[in-house]
Subunit: 675 residues, 2 copies
C-alpha cells in the first residue's frame, strides 16, 4: 500500500475534506467538537486511504480491520470517513449531525451508523474495547486459522486523545495489552497538548512514550501528526510488529486548519463560527459549499472498489478454507453469527432437572462454577475471566486454559482491573465469536459500572459474575459488603440482574444470561452456602420468568393472607418464616424473585397470578429497601439494610440487621393486621 | 533518626512481632490476610520505628505524619503497629479481629480505630487518599507557614500492593502527584509478584519503576524489602526530595516468615493454619503465645515517649507561631476543626432573599457558579476543581487560583480523572482544613462512584458538582445523558443528592452541602436555563428540608385533588401543568423535592403536611421512574425515562420522551379519575 495520493489542484488535501465536513456540520448543529477531527484529519487520511482494509459495502465483513474512535466526541471525523469512503451514510445524513433519530448522533453509536464498531464518548473505554477486539482477533486466529488458510488476520486501529490517556482505564488495558503482546493493536495518540481546561501541562505532564514502553509496547514517539510520509512510515513499522502493540505518538495541532483558532482550547468543543470557517475556505482555496466535496477529492477517498476487491480476495481464501475445513468454517460462522450450539438447551435442562451437585447446599458462586463445568464443553465461545479473584468468584473450570502469548486459551486473569475487564469484554462481544464473562466482588461493580452501562446501551451479551453479594460475605466488612448495588444495577436501562437463591436458580440465571442476545446480565452470587429448594417442572419453567411462587401454605384458605417476596440468600429466610407462620395458622405464599426486571417484563396476568392484588406483601433482600417499596406498596413492608454493613461473621450480621425468620414473621403479622 | 535497633536475644526481630500478631489474629478469626502484613513487616518496622513522626497519645496531632495502608486487606499490619507503638488499641482488641463491633474490623476504618487515617480496602483508593493528603499538606503549609514558623511540615507515607498498582486510579493520581510535585509523598510498593490469581507475570508485566519515572516521580528501584539498612537509606533519600514524590519499590516475599507457605498465593488471604504457625514459632525461637509480645520487643516498639516529645516540641513551635501570628493560628485551628466561618449563614441568607442574579432564568450550573462567587471569599477552606470540565461545570470563580508547584491556589484542574479526583477529595477532607468540591458531567459519576460511596462510609464532607444532569444536555446523546444516575446515587447510604430547580434552590443546596459535616453531597445541576420561582420566607426555609409546597391552587377547596412532585428542571414542567389543571378547575399542589433523602429524614408530621395521605400523586423527573414509585404509590403515576436517551436538541427530547406539561396534565387527570 502506498501513502495517500497528493491532490495538487488546490492547496487543499483529501484531509481537508474531513476538516470542512467537521467544521460545517458542527456549525450547522450549533454544537459538537471540531477540534479533534481537524487535528487528526491527516492521521485519518493516511490510515484510511493508505492502510485500512475494509469494504464500505459490507461493514460486517468478518476479516475487516477494526477502527475505534476512542475520543468519541470527534464523531464527525468518523462520519466523514464513513461517508467519503463509501459507506451507506449519505451527505444528507452528515447534515443532520446531532439531530433527532439521525444516523449521525453526537457520539458514535454502534448499530446506528454502518461502520461504527463501538459506541464511544465515555473516555478511555473505546481504547479498552479495542484491546478486547485485538484480543478476540488473536484468539480467533489461533483457534481457526490453519496452515495455508489464514482467514482471520487483521489489525485493530484506535484513535485516542489526551482524555483517554488521563483516564485510569487506559492504564488497566494498556498494561494488559502489553502483557498479552497484542501486536495487531495500533494506537494513535493525538498529542495536541490541549484538553478542555486548557494546556494540559498543568495537570498532565506524563512522558507518555516512556509510560507505554513500561507496559511493553512498541512506541513510536514524536511523529508529526500532519506529516503524511512520517505517519505512513510509522504505520508500516507498526504493522511489521509481531510481539508488541504499537503506540504512535502524533504531535498534532488541535483544530488544525482553522486560521485563528487552531491550537487553542476554544476549538475543542464549540462551533468555529461563520467568520473562521469562511477564512479557512479562503486560505485553503476551498470553493465547495458546506456538505460538498470537490470531485477529485471525493474520488481520492472512494474506497468501494478496493474494498470490494479485498473482500473478494478474502472470500476466495475463505472458500478454500471451507472446502478443506468445512466443520471449522461452519463453526466460525456460527460463532460470529452469535447462534448458540443446538444442544445447549438440553444441557441446561439436564442440569436443572437432574438430582446432582446443583441440588445440594452450596454457595451460589459454587453453583455457578458447577454450571460452568457442565456447559463449558458445549460452548466454545465462552470466554471466562476474573479481575484477580478467580478462586473467590469461581469463574474457572477444570477445562479453563489461561490465554497465552499465542492467543490460545479460554480464560484470562485480567488482574485487579475491574473497569478494564468490563470494557474489554464489551469489545470482545462487539467483535463477535465470544460470549465473555468476568468475575469480581459485587461491590467493585462500582468500578466497572459505566462499562456495564455501555454494554446495556450497546445491547451486548456480556455476563458479569458478581460474587460476595451481601453482608453474607461477613468479616471483610462494609468496604466489601454491597448494600445499594443490586438495586442500583437494576436501574440501568436494559441491564438484567439475577440473584438466584440456590443451585437450580443459578443454572436458570446462567441460561437466561447466555440466551439473552440484546444486553448484559449481572449474576449476583453468594459467598455462603444456601439451602436448596425442590421445584416442580412448572416452577422451574416459571423461575425463568424472573419471579414465581416457590411455596404456598394455604391452611384451607383459597388465597394467602400474606406474600413473602425474597431474592437470593434471603429466600431461605422467607421460607423459614413461612413455616413459622403456617404453624401459626397463617396462609402464606413465598415468591422467589431472582430477576425483578424479567418478572416485570411478563404480562400483567402472570404478574397478578404471582402477586395477587390486595394481599399484603413483605419483601426481604439484604440491601436497600427503597427499591422494594415499589413492589410491596404502601400496605407492605420491605426488609433490608439501609446503612452500611459491619465486619463480623455472616450469621451474626444477619441477626444484627434483623434479617431473620423471626423478624419476618413479626413483619408479616403486622402487615396482615393492618390490611 | 537511626535505623531500627536490632534485637539480639533471639533470632526474632521487632518486625516478627508484626508477623506473629497478623498470623495469630487471622488464625483466630479464621479469616483475613496474613500475606501482606508478613511481607511488609520489615518495611513497616523501618518506617514506623525509624522515621514516622507521630504521637500515639494524640492520633489527631495536627502535624503528624500521615500513614495510609492502601492495601487495606493487610489491616492486621496496621492494627499491630498501632498497638505496639502505644495507641489506644489494647491487645484484647487485636484478639477481636474481624468480630462484631470490634475496633479491628476486616479492613481499616477511620474513626473506628485510633490512628487509622482513612478507610481502605477498595484497591487504589488509599493511594489516592494519600495523594489528596499530601496535596492538602502542601497547600496548608503554603498558606499558613511563615518564616521561622514552619508549623505544617510532615510526610505522607503510603503502602501499596500489586493490586493498587494495577487499578486504573493509581495511574490517575500518580500522574497528577508527579505533575504537582508532591515531594512529601513517599510510597512503598510491595512488589511481591503475587496476587490472588497467582504469580502476576501472566497479567501484570509493567516495568513499574519506569512507569513512575514517566510520571515524574523519584523512583528508588529494586530495594530489598527485607533489608532494613537498604530500606532506611531509601527513606532518607526520599525525605531529602523537594520536587518529586518518591516511589520505593520493595522486592518482598509475601508471607515472609511462614516456613513453607511464604512466597505463594495461598498465604495472601487465608489463615496459615496451626501447623505452619507452630513451625514459624519454632524457627524464629518465638516462645510467646498468641497475642503476646516479648517485653524487649514490646519496648523496642513503644513510641509513646518519643511521640510525646515530638508533639511537645511542635507545641512549642506552635505557641511561638500563635504569639506572632494569632489570627493565622486561629484560622488554622478553625479550619482544621471543621467549623464554618461565622458569617457564612448571613451570606447565604442574603443570596436567597435578595433579588439578584440567582433570581433570574439561568441554568442551575450557572446558578451554582453565582453562589460560588458569593461565598468563596468567606470560605477560604473551599477547594474547587473539575475533571477537565471547568468551563462546563462552572466550578471556577473569578478568584480561583490554580494550584501551582509551590502549593498556592484554591482550584485544581484534576484532568480527565473523575475517580482520582473523587478519591483525592476524600483524602483532603480526611486531612482537614479543606472543603473540597469537584465537578464532572453527572453521567461520569459512574467512574467515581465507589469514591463517593467511600466518602459516605467515612462520613466525609465532600461535594460533587455533577452538571449536565439529564436529557436536557441535548445533542451529546445517550452516552452523556444520565437516566439512572440520580436514583442510583440516592441509594448510596449516607449520601445526599440535591437537584435544585432554580437559583434559590441551588443556593439552598450548596448551603446544605457545606453545612453537612457527616457525609458527602452530590449537587445535580442542569446544563439548560431554568425558570426561577418566587418564594415566601417560609418556603425558603422549608426548601432546606428537601421537599416543600412550591405552589398551590385550591380553587375554593381546602385540599388539593392531586399533588405534582418534581425535581430540578422538571419543576417548571409541573408548574406549567398546574396552571393548566387549575385553569380546568382542578385543585392542584406542586411539591418541589430537591433532596428526597433530606425530605424523608423529616418527621412524619412535616412529611404528611407536604404530601397528605390519600391524595393522588404524579411525579416527574427526567430519569428512571422506579425510584419514584415508592413516593407516588400504587394510586399515583411516575413520569420519567426508563430507556436510554437520544442525541437531539433538548426541547425535542423532552417532547419525544413525553415530559411536557400536557402529558403531566393527562397523567394528573387519570390519577384523579382513578382515585
Amino acid at each position: 500500500m502506498n501513502a495517500p495520493e497528493k491532490i495538487t489542484a488546490t492547496t487543499a488535501t483529501p484531509a481537508d475534506a474531513l476538516r470542512f465536513l467537521a467544521a460545517d456540520a458542527v456549525e450547522k448543529a450549533k454544537s459538537g467538537h471540531p477540534g479533534a477531527p481537524m487535528g487528526m484529519a491527516d492521521i485519518a487520511d493516511v490510515l484510511w486511504r493508505g492502510h485500512l482494509r475494509h469494504n464500505p459495502a459490507d461493514p460486517k465483513w468478518l476479516n475487516r480491520d477494526r477502527f475505534v474512535l476512542s475520543n468519541g466526541h470527534g464523531s464527525m471525523l468518523l462520519y466523514s470517513l464513513l461517508h467519503l469512503t463509501g459507506y451507506d451514510l449519505r451527505m444528507e445524513e452528515l447534515a443532520q449531525f446531532r439531530q433527532m433519530h439521525s444516523r449521525t448522533p453526537g457520539h458514535p453509536e454502534v448499530e446506528v451508523t454502518p461502520g461504527v464498531e463501538t459506541t464511544t464518548g465515555p473516555l478511555g473505554q473505546g481504547l479498552s474495547n479495542a484491546v478486547g477486539m485485538a484480543l478476540a482477533e488473536k484468539m480467533l486466529a489461533a483457534s481457526f486459522n490453519r496452515p495455508g488458510h489464514v482467514v482471520i488476520d487483521h489489525h485493530t486501529y484506535v484513535f485516542v486523545g489526551d482524555g483517554c490517556m488521563m483516564e485510569g482505564i487506559s492504564h488497566e488495558v494498556s498494561s494488559l495489552a502489553g502483557t498479552l503482546g497484542l501486536s495487531k493493536l495500533i494506537c494513535f495518540y493525538d498529542d495536541n497538548g490541549i484538553s478542555i481546561d486548557g494546556n494540559v501541562a498543568g495537570w498532565f505532564a506524563d512522558d507518555t512514550p516512556k509510560r507505554f514502553a513500561a507496559y511493553g509496547w512498541n512506541v513510536i514517539a514524536a511523529v508529526d501528526g500532519h506529516d503524511v510520509d512520517a505517519l505512513d512510515l510509522a504505520i508500516r513499522q507498526a504493522k511489521s510488529q509481531n510481539s508488541q502493540p504499537t503506540l504512535i505518538c502524533c504531535k498534532t495541532v488541535i483544530g488544525k486548519g482553522a486560521p485563528t483558532k487552531a491550537g487553542g482550547h476554544d476549538v475543542h468543543g464549540a462551533p468555529l463560527g461563520a467568520i473562521e470557517i469562511a477564512a479557512m475556505r479562503a486560505q485553503k482555496g476551498w470553493t465547495a459549499g458546506p456538505f460538498e466535496v470537490p470531485s477529485d477529492i471525493a474520488k481520492a477517498w472512494d474506497a468501494r472498489t478496493t474494498g470490494a476487491a479485498r473482500q473478494a480476495e478474502w472470500n476466495e481464501l475463505f472458500s478454500a478454507y471451507q472446502a478443506e475445513h468445512p466443520a471449522l468454517a461452519g463453526e466460525l460462522l456460527r460463532r460470529m453469527g452469535g447462534t448458540l450450539p443446538a444442544n445447549l438447551t438440553e444441557v441446561f435442562s439436564q442440569l436443572v432437572h437432574a438430582d446432582g451437585d446443583l441440588q445440594k447446599k452450596v454457595a451460589t458462586r459454587k453453583a455457578s462454577q458447577i454450571v460452568l463445568e457442565h456447559i463449558s464443553a458445549t460452548l466454545p465461545e465462552f470466554f471466562g475471566g476474573s479481575a484477580d479473584l478467580t478462586g473467590s468468584n469461581l469463574t474457572n473450570v477444570k477445562a479453563s486454559v489461561w490465554v497465552n502469548h499465542h492467543g490460545s486459551g479460554n480464560y484470562l486473569s485480567y488482574g485487579v482491573r475491574e473497569f478494564g475487564m468490563a470494557a474489554m469484554m464489551n469489545g470482545m462481544a462487539l467483535y463477535g465469536g465470544f460470549i465473555p464473562f468476568g468475575g469480581t466482588f459485587m461491590t467493585f461493580s462500582d468500578y466497572s459500572r459505566n462499562a456495564i452501562r455501555m454494554a446495556a446501551l450497546m445491547k451486548q451479551r456480556v455476563i458479569h459474575v458478581l460474587t460476595h453479594d451481601s453482608i453474607g460475605l461477613g468479616e471483610d466488612g462494609p468496604t466489601h459488603q454491597p448494600i445499594e448495588h443490586a438495586a442500583s444495577l437494576r436501574l440501568i436501562p436494559n441491564n438484567r440482574l439475577w440473584r438466584p437463591c440456590d443451585g437450580v436458580e443459578t443454572a436458570i440465571a446462567w441460561q437466561a444470561a447466555i440466551s439473552r442476545t440484546d444486553g448484559p446480565t449481572c449474576l449476583i452470587l453468594s459467598r455462603q452456602a444456601l439451602t436448596p429448594f425442590s421445584r416442580s417442572t412448572t416452577q422451574i419453567s416459571d423461575a425463568a420468568k424472573g419471579g414465581y411462587v416457590l411455596s404456598e401454605t394455604l391452611s384451607g384458605l383459597s388465597t394467602p393472607q400474606v406474600v413473602l417476596i425474597a431474592t437470593g440468600s434471603e429466600v431461605e429466610i422467607a421460607a423459614a418464616a413461612a413455616v413459622q407462620l403456617s404453624n401459626a395458622g397463617i396462609a402464606v405464599r413465598v415468591v422467589s424473585m431472582p430477576c425483578v426486571e424479567a418478572f416485570y417484563a411478563q404480562d400483567a396476568m402472570y404478574r397478578k397470578h404471582v402477586l395477587p392484588d390486595g394481599i399484603p406483601r413483605v419483601s426481604i433482600e439484604a440491601g436497600v429497601t427503597w427499591f422494594w417499596r415499589a413492589i410491596v406498596g404502601e400496605s407492605g413492608s420491605a426488609m433490608g439494610i439501609d446503612t452500611f454493613g459491619e465486619s463480623a461473621p455472616a450469621e451474626q450480621l444477619y441477626a444484627h440487621f434483623k434479617l431473620t425468620p423471626e423478624h419476618m414473621v413479626e413483619r408479616a403479622l403486622a402487615v396482615i393486621k393492618e390490611s
